[in-house]
């Protein structure tokens, strides 16, 4: 399961979620603005606080880096 940690108005979070929707990748969205537990998890996983953070089965990607996402996804198929 792909996890994305995002904030409400972050454009790159939206781009990433739109990308997952368009390519039929199932994902769970954690809004770290409202969910302190998810925020702590995100900081722990990525070692930083910027959003979005994307967790593809343990591969952590900071930002909407489409090539890194595609690469991580293809490794998991």
């Amino acid at each position: 399961m792909v996890k994305i940690y995002s904030t409400t108005h972050c454009p790159y979070c939206k781009m990433a979620k739109d990308y997952f929707t368009k390519t039929n990748v199932e994902f769970k969205d954690f809004n770290v603005e409202a969910d302190d537990e998810a925020l702590a998890e995100m900081v722990k996983k990525s070692g930083q606080m910027g959003v979005p953070v994307i967790d593809i089965e343990g591969t952590i990607i900071v930002g909407f880096d489409r090539q890194a996402i595609e690469h991580a996804l293809s490794g998991k198929k």
């Binding site: 904030t7 108005h9 979005p52």
Partner: protein
């Protein structure tokens, strides 16, 4: 196969050019990392004529949707262009996924990137309290003191993005605050904003995350320290023109010099539009206009060349 034109960039200038290229039935390709350009960082765009208010993210969707509705333009997104080479009469464009394309003309609309402060601690704490996208990362500063560096419009916008979250906001301006009055009025009304002028940022420090920022008062030459959990850097933009520096003329700030009548660069066959050029106003409206002018001039050039 040789394209008539390759458009590089998916911001307002590139998308406008792409739509016109499709309508002129040019054999065209648009390569971009994503859509919307730097306007995606805006919480609300309120000066793009036709929309009273639209978020940067929605605006990016509008641009992409309009471009994808065209037939006949090829789009490669999620990619960066690595190099542009002139080979005789044509240009060779290489992307970062190994794709190589040949084209008669290039329309370069790669925009600009956040300018960095270039002080100790900035790089080390990037994402760990040092942020460049206030609309993205302001919510992480809930009930925390923060500093915004930059007294222009981007600085003021960052302050506005932080108002609902931060407990205290220091706005550090190198000289005076120079942003639009409409933003300044909003900021001055809020008691938690403290404007510090004549402030030269010296260092960002902390442990795992940012703890403080120091600056020198350029009048008294005193160095002062502020305890903050976040530093939002909003000191403007630098043009993404490095790739073309050996091919076309740039001004001293790195902007591509273009002829404003037709958006031609100093090298025949390469056009540029939007914030990467030396046009005086980095705004969505002019970028769209310049993208259209550039494409129409590319079309005339191709027709004359036959």
């Amino acid at each position: 196969m040789i394209y008539d034109t390759i458009i590089i960039g998916g911001g307002p200038a590139g998308v406008a050019a792409g739509i016109y290229a499709a309508r002129k039935k040019l054999k065209s390709l648009l390569i971009t990392k994503d859509f919307g350009g730097q306007s995606v960082n805006s919480a609300a765009i309120e000066n793009f004529i036709g929309y009273k208010s639209i978020s940067g993210a929605d605006f990016a969707g509008v641009l992409e949707g309009h471009l994808r509705a065209q037939e006949g333009i090829e789009i490669k997104d999620g990619l960066l262009v690595d190099s542009i080479k002139k080979q005789g009469d044509i240009f060779e464009v290489a992307d970062n996924a190994g794709g190589i394309y040949q084209t008669k003309t290039v329309l370069y609309t790669a925009g600009s990137s956040h300018r960095k402060l270039d002080v100790p601690g900035e790089k080390e704490y990037e994402g760990k309290g040092v942020f460049y996208c206030s609309i993205c990362d302001a919510p992480l500063m809930k009930n925390k003191p923060v500093a915004v560096v930059g007294g222009g419009n981007s600085g003021l916008e960052a302050v506005i993005d932080l108002l609902p979250y931060a407990s205290k906001i220091y706005l550090l301006a190198r000289s005076e605050v120079k942003g639009d009055p409409i933003y300044l009025d909003k900021i001055k009304k809020d008691g938690k904003v403290e404007i510090i002028t004549n402030a030269n940022t010296k260092e960002i420090s902390g442990d795992t995350f940012v703890k403080s920022i120091s600056y020198e008062d350029s009048v008294s030459h005193e160095t002062k320290n502020l305890e903050v959990s976040g530093v939002f850097v909003a000191i403007g933009w630098i043009p993404n023109s490095g790739m073309l520096k050996d091919l076309v003329k740039l001004n001293d700030k790195g902007h591509i010099i273009v002829d404003p009548k037709n958006q031609q660069t100093s090298l025949t066959g390469i056009w540029a539009a939007g914030d990467v050029t030396d046009g005086p106003y980095a705004q969505i409206g002019p970028a769209i206009g310049d993208g259209i002018v550039a494409l129409l001039n590319v079309y005339d050039y191709l027709n004359k060349k036959g």
